[in-house]
């Protein structure tokens, strides 16, 4: 590229004489160019957008310079924008295919500066040879708008086919500078507009989000209130085991939660059992009416009306029909029919809302949820009551069982005792039978003992009693005399020898001269034979066996009669014979 240093429109071979004539023309030309620059600046300043800027810039530039054609390529992130003037119609299609490459040629991505540079203006016929540019291109303006937007403009030759002069080149540069400013301004405005639009959308979205958040917060608050109410209701009802207390507690809770001035609950059991009624701030006759058979039938009639909607076990149904509400036995603005199980049914009524507003869907839902909690609690209470009743029955049965067990144990003990007694009796019987059939030591012993006892008694009490033990056993032994010593006394008759044995033994054999004096015949024999003896006469007595001491007994008798010298022959007749003395037989 080469730029001419001469004034545009002035021949290079102008002489000094002709300089004065051509100066006004040069000034007019310069003024024309300055006006052009001024007008172009004004046109660009009033343009609204980049398309308008380019549309206005091309004729504004081409006209004053007398250029045959011009084109403008604006490459932005949103796409390629093409404006042309002086081309054939198919030239636009050509730029759509090659425009992006042309812009990229001037602003390769690797060499794009971080900051915005000034526009670059290329002027020269050599540009016509560039394959990327349309044929005949004589000037190119490359304008960096921002980091991602660039513009490339090209212009054809002048109508006069004259080269672009230095002044025209400056004009072109000035126009490029203005265009650059206008494009940057327009791009910034578009960017700001886009940002505003995006910000507006985001603000709108934020407002919507805020509205949704507030709605969600309100929903959460309502849910929290419902959950808290459910929790408090469940907490209040959890520790209660009496159904009547459950009814009173629940109706109070409902009145407080939904701001009703009065309320009632009626619970009917199977058959004609006594219903459970709880009412608040209602006249006493209301409870009576609810407890009556008529009240029961009126409420059960609402169940019949519901037919397929009738609440089943552990379910509740909100009664919203005004006609049905009026048919209830007690006044209620809102009523719930419920069924604990197949046998227990009832209704809840709330009257005189303090707020005066009808229940919305959320409140109705909360009411039904509370009714569900109430039903669960009531069912549990019924079960607890049933369990307690079963426990009581079981305890009673256990007591009966224990009593029966004690009786059985006692009876068993008695039976065992009786069995043992029977066995003992049978044993005794068998023993007795055996004793009868054989000789037993027991019987023999009993006979001997009986004989001993009877003999002892008779001997003690009878007239012919005797000493059980002979008295001689306890008396001192009599004086004895040995046979050798007694022999001379007997032979010399200085002593009287007495045979104390029975007569039969005396007859069998005795000491010579012995007087037979058996105890049985003592008095008779003594009086006959010994009565005349002096008391001091020695008397030698003999006769003794294992079974009887005849000598001692006779000696005692003689002693009692006053005889003083009584001696017993030691060893008796046997000792006498053994001593070799004579025996009379």
């Amino acid at each position: 590229m080469s730029t001419s240093k001469t004034m545009p429109g002035i021949p290079a071979a102008t002489t000094a004489a002709g300089l004065d004539e051509r100066q006004p023309l040069a000034f007019e030309h310069r003024i024309f160019l300055l006006k052009t620059l001024y007008e172009a600046s004004g046109e660009l300043a009033t343009a609204n957008n980049t398309t308008d800027i380019l549309n206005r810039f091309l004729p504004t530039t081409m006209g004053p310079l007398g250029l045959t054609f011009g084109f403008a390529l604006l490459l932005r992130p949103t796409g390629l924008h093409i404006e042309s003037l002086g081309f054939e119609k198919n030239a636009r299609a050509h730029f759509e295919r090659t425009g992006a490459a042309l812009v990229t040629k001037f602003f390769p991505e690797q060499t794009r500066p971080a900051h915005i540079e000034r526009p670059c203006v290329l002027v020269g016929r050599h540009l016509a040879k560039d394959p990327h540019l349309p044929p005949g291109t004589n000037a190119v303006i490359a304008i960096p708008i921002d980091a991602t937007s660039h513009a490339v403009l090209g212009f054809g030759p002048k109508l006069t086919d004259a080269p672009i002069s230095e002044v025209e080149d400056e004009l072109l540069r000035g126009l490029a500078a203005n265009l650059s400013l206008a494009l940057r301004k327009a791009c910034n405005e578009e960017l700001i507009k886009n940002l505003n639009s995006t910000l507006s959308k985001k603000n709108q979205w934020m407002e919507q989000a805020l509205a949704r958040m507030q709605q969600t917060q309100e929903e959460l608050a309502r849910r929290a209130f419902q959950l808290m109410t459910l929790y408090e209701t469940a907490f209040d009802l959890s520790g209660i085991t009496d159904p009547q207390t459950v009814l009173y507690t629940f109706i109070l809770r409902l009145m407080g939660t939904f701001s009703y001035s009065n309320g009632w609950i009626a619970l009917y059991g199977p058959g004609g059992s006594q219903p459970d009624i709880a009412s608040r701030n209602l006249p006493p006759e209301t409870a009576t009416t609810l407890a009556s058979a008529q009240g029961r039938n009126q409420i059960l009639a609402r169940f019949v009306e519901l037919k397929d909607k009738m609440p089943r076990a552990n379910q509740s149904y909100l009664l919203s029909d005004h006609h049905a509400l009026k048919q209830l036995p007690a006044q209620a603005d809102t009523a719930v029919l419920f069924a604990v199980d197949e046998d227990w049914h009832g209704a809840i009524g709330l009257g005189h809302s303090l707020s005066g507003d009808p229940m919305d869907e959320e409140t109705k839902h909360l009411l039904l949820s509370l009714a569900g909690t109430f039903l669960v609690t009531l069912a549990n209470t019924k079960r607890i009551q049933m369990i307690e009743r079963l426990n009581t029955d079981l305890a009673a049965r256990n007591t009966d069982l224990l009593t029966t067990l004690d009786k059985l144990t006692s009876a068993k003990h008695e039976i065992s005792l009786l069995t043992e007694t029977r066995q003992r009796i049978i044993g005794l019987v068998q023993g007795e039978v055996a004793r009868v059939r054989r000789a037993s030591w027991l019987d023999v012993s009993l006979i001997i003992i009986a004989g001993a006892v009877l003999g002892l008694l008779f001997n003690l009490t009878g007239p012919s009693g005797i000493d059980l033990i002979p008295p001689s056993v306890f008396e001192p032994a009599p004086t004895t005399i040995a046979a050798p010593k007694a022999h001379p006394m007997i032979r010399n008759k200085t002593a009287v020898i007495i045979d104390a044995r029975p007569a039969e033994f005396h007859k069998q054999g005795h000491i010579p001269q012995a007087v037979n004096l058996p105890q049985e015949l003592f008095d008779f024999v003594y009086s006959m034979k010994l009565a005349d003896l002096a008391p001091e006469t020695p008397l030698i007595i003999y006769g003794r066996t294992i079974s009887r001491h005849y000598d001692a007994e006779v000696a005692r008798e003689l002693e009692l009669l006053g005889h003083e010298n009584i001696m017993v022959l030691k060893g008796g007749l046997a000792a006498w014979e053994n001593a070799g003395y004579e025996v009379t037989r």
Binding site: I425, I426, V429, Q430, E432, V433, R435, V436, R437, R438, A439, S440, D443, V444, I447, I448, A450, G451, A452, L454, G455, L456, F458, N459, G462, S464, G465, I466, D467, L468, I469, P470, S472, V473, P502, E504, F505, K507, Q508, E520, T545, I546, S547, R548, H549
Partner: protein, 159 residues
């Protein structure tokens, strides 16, 4: 014949007769001894077998034992025990007689009275006969016994 004799020998009726005889004999013998204990004591002493300190007691107790045994035999109560005891007493008496016969003791039996004929081998034979009768009673006695009534009632209790 032998069988008939054996049948007769083992029949309860002879046993009943022997029982009543021996029972009456002991009751009769005891009656005298009970009333004359001193004389009976002398009789026991004459046998020279019992120790002198036990003679009187035997004279007091033995007659009552005899009368109880005799009564039981007559009534048919505890017949076997009574018969066994009577057999034992008769055996003792017989042995005592035999011993004194061997000693040539000039004593009387003392079975019924104090003054009797001296003991002899006939006495031993008589006692042996009584022992045989008592053994017969022991083994074959079965009728007219009060025990039977008692046993019948006990049998009912047992069943």
């Amino acid at each position: 014949m032998i069988a008939g004799f054996m049948k007769l020998l083992t029949h309860p009726w002879p046993a009943l007769a022997f029982r009543l005889y021996i029972g009456g004999l002991f009751v009769y013998a005891a009656m005298y001894k009970i009333n004359y204990a001193a004389e009976f004591s002398a009789t026991i002493a004459s046998y020279r077998l019992a120790p002198y300190w036990a003679v009187n007691a035997m004279a007091v107790f033995m007659p009552w034992t005899e009368i109880i045994c005799g009564t039981l035999l007559i009534l048919g109560l505890r017949v076997k025990s009574a018969a066994a005891l009577v057999t034992a007493l008769l055996t003792v008496f017989t042995l005592a007689i035999i011993i004194n016969l061997l000693r040539n003791a000039p004593i009387s039996c003392g079975c019924f009275h104090t003054i009797e004929d001296p003991i002899s081998w006939w006495t031993v034979l008589r006692d042996l006969t009584w022992i045989a009768m008592t053994l017969h009673v022991y083994h074959f006695d079965a009728i007219l016994r009060i025990d039977q009534l008692f046993i019948g009632k006990l049998k009912r209790i047992e069943s």
